[in-house]
């Protein structure tokens, strides 16, 4: 019998094969099963393989030859073991099973094939079927393969997509968890979710009630039940929640933004709930702090504007003429501004007495020929008394230059300050002029002395005295140290 096959590699080899040297013998001696199967195999476009006889002689078609790579054509008509010698430990159990009468099917075997001119990953499903004679003895094995490359690729794309979605979940800034079923069983939770409920808690596979029991009495299970039953999402912001998330599992109060959304099957049935939660505790605290800071700044600004308003009003009210008023007001505002610089430089909202005094001498004294002699500790002073003290020193110096000791060539000012009082709880400052023209109490009080008389802002008990002594004016302040140094 001569069977005509379409001209192809394996059919040609089959035709020209020296069967006499093969364990299979001449074709004429072959059993009908083998004849039929070879005919089916060589005629099929589907990859097929026959392993026959105790020697496991191997025959295959062109489809299968492609999987054999460069082992074809040498492998045609050889033993199955010599074809797959390198993976024999995997192949042997399957072929042996087939020879002992047991078929096997494999869903996914990967080959690198060159059928399109380049190496290409391919996937096949195999089934090894024992072939028996009419009496039931196994003669050999027949294998048909189905290429599954496109299915595998499609599945991989899907898996990749799923993997990417999972990555998105993992990278999300918010906590994400997926709950399944009406009992809300945790299927998945990202790192952020664990960080929120407490790192190291085991929740996957458990119901929310079992995994995070502290939320039961806070009503969250009821909310989940509602979302699952109605399909209406639940959205809340700044929701207070107690979570046993401390290092020892202790309860902590947190604020969270929370969304529960139902997830649905392809048929539209609710299958679970997607939880999105963001711990906003730190965020809200920071916002509140900023608000407080802005409020405090506003408060200070208003108080300082009120002070400027009063100084402007006082300056204009008692000025002899417009030009004097303009100059005095400009100088006084400049003093406040410099004093404010010292407060800012102090960093913590207060400045130092020595720095304020230095600001005054820089304006009213000459470094080469100092006439204001200063002595005192560079102690801290709160921001409100600092503004007052700067203004008082400025008014004293201005007055001394105009009418007092500093108006005469040999005049001097001795400026001293210290902590005093029987309980060391008073700030005491003294300004004593000498060497100036004879002094007398002015008939009409000017703005300068009124500003001095206003005292130290922020102190609870500020006593001032101005004495017109024979050798020069003496001014002294005594104020409670607590108010003097308190940050307002």
């Amino acid at each position: 019998m001569n069977i005509q096959f379409p001209p192809s590699g394996c059919a040609t080899i089959f035709e020209g094969f020296d069967w006499a040297t093969s364990p299979l013998g001449l074709q004429s001696s072959w059993p009908p099963e083998l004849k039929t199967l070879t005919s089916v195999m060589l005629g099929s476009l589907q990859p097929m393989l026959i392993v026959w006889g105790p020697e496991q002689t191997t025959l295959y078609n062109d489809g299968y030859a492609a999987m054999c790579g460069n082992r074809h054509p040498a492998a045609f008509g050889g033993s199955f073991q010599s074809l797959w010698h390198d993976i024999w430990d995997q192949v042997e159990p399957i072929i042996s099973a087939a020879y002992s009468g047991q078929g096997t099917s494999m869903d996914d075997i990967e080959f690198t094939m060159h059928r399109n001119g380049y190496p290409e990953e391919t996937h096949f499903a195999f089934s090894y079927t024992p072939v028996r004679d009419p009496w039931g003895s196994v003669l050999g094995m027949f294998c048909a393969c189905t290429e599954t490359t496109s299915e595998v690729r499609a599945r991989r794309v899907q898996d990749d997509l799923k993997e990417r979605f999972m990555q998105v979940f993992e990278l999300s800034q918010g906590g994400i968890a997926m709950l399944a079923g009406k009992d809300h069983v945790f299927e998945y939770a990202n790192e952020e979710y664990y960080a929120m409920i407490g790192v190291g808690r085991e929740i996957i596979g458990k119901t929310v009630a079992d995994a995070v029991p502290e939320v039961i009495r806070q009503g969250f299970i009821g909310i989940l039940d509602g979302v699952f039953a109605t399909g209406d999402p639940f959205v809340a912001k700044n929701l207070p929640v107690k979570l046993n998330r401390g290092p020892e599992g202790e309860e902590q109060n947190r604020l969270i933004d929370l969304v529960y959304q139902p997830t649905r099957s392809a048929e539209g049935c609710i299958t679970g709930i997607l939880v999105q939660a963001r711990d906003v505790t730190a965020l809200r605290a920071e916002e509140k702090h900023r608000e407080l800071l802005a409020y405090e700044l506003g408060h200070r600004l208003k108080n300082q504007l009120a002070m400027v308003q009063a100084i402007a009003s006082q300056t204009l009210r008692y000025a002899p003429d417009m030009q004097t008023a303009r100059k005095n007001l400009s100088d006084r505002v400049a003093v406040l501004s410099r004093s404010h610089d010292a407060i800012i430089e102090g960093g913590t909202g207060h400045s130092r007495v020595g720095d304020l005094v230095a600001q005054m001498t820089a304006i009213h004294d000459s470094p080469d020929h100092p006439r204001i002699l200063v002595a005192g500790p560079n102690m801290t002073i709160g921001s409100r008394p600092a503004l007052s003290l700067s203004l008082i020193l400025h008014e004293l110096a201005t007055n001394a230059v105009k009418y007092g000791a500093l108006s005469a060539p040999d005049g001097r000012v001795m400026l001293t300050w210290r902590v005093g009082g029987p309980y060391r709880d008073r700030f005491k400052l003294e300004w004593k002029e000498t060497g100036g023209p004879p002094v007398a109490k002015p008939e009409k009080e000017g703005t300068g002395s009124r500003l001095i008389r206003a005292g130290l802002n922020g102190t609870a008990d500020c006593q001032l005295s101005i004495d017109y002594e024979a050798d020069g004016m003496r001014f002294s302040i005594s104020a409670d140290l607590a108010g003097f140094q308190k940050e307002h």
Partner: protein, 123 residues
């Protein structure tokens, strides 16, 4: 200047400069004025003098702040008009006596006189 008041205005303000200028402003307008540097000092004055209106700051050192002072004055002398002035933002209205006026610091003269007029205390 004829005044429709039943007594002087009491200014309670711990900032000496602001208190001094407020007093000048009101005196120039013809109001008799008393001054106190804190709520405790103000209370001492109130016990001895019939005051037509209390004009008080809120944040001050001492045993009570301006809000507390305003509440006590309102309880004890219901006829005394009350104006609260503060650099703090509007306080909780519940903390202010019912007919008190709140003015934010710094207060303009026009605004101040308008508030006094509204309380029947035109200069």
């Amino acid at each position: 200047m004829a005044l429709s008041t039943k007594g002087p205005l009491l200014i309670v303000e711990d900032d000496g400069l602001i208190r001094m200028d407020l007093a000048d402003t009101l005196q120039d307008a013809g109001y008799p004025v008393l001054e106190a540097a804190n709520a405790d000092e103000a209370w001492g004055i109130l016990l001895e003098t019939d005051v037509a209106a209390l004009i008080t700051d809120i944040d001050m050192p001492g045993s009570m702040d301006g809000l507390e002072l305003a509440r006590r004055v309102s309880d004890r002398w219901p006829d005394c008009r009350i104006i609260v002035i503060s650099g703090r933002y509007n306080p909780d209205p519940a903390k202010l006596p019912a007919d008190a006026t709140f003015l934010t610091k710094p207060v303009g003269e026009t605004e101040l006189f308008k508030a006094l007029e509204a309380h029947g205390l035109a200069a």
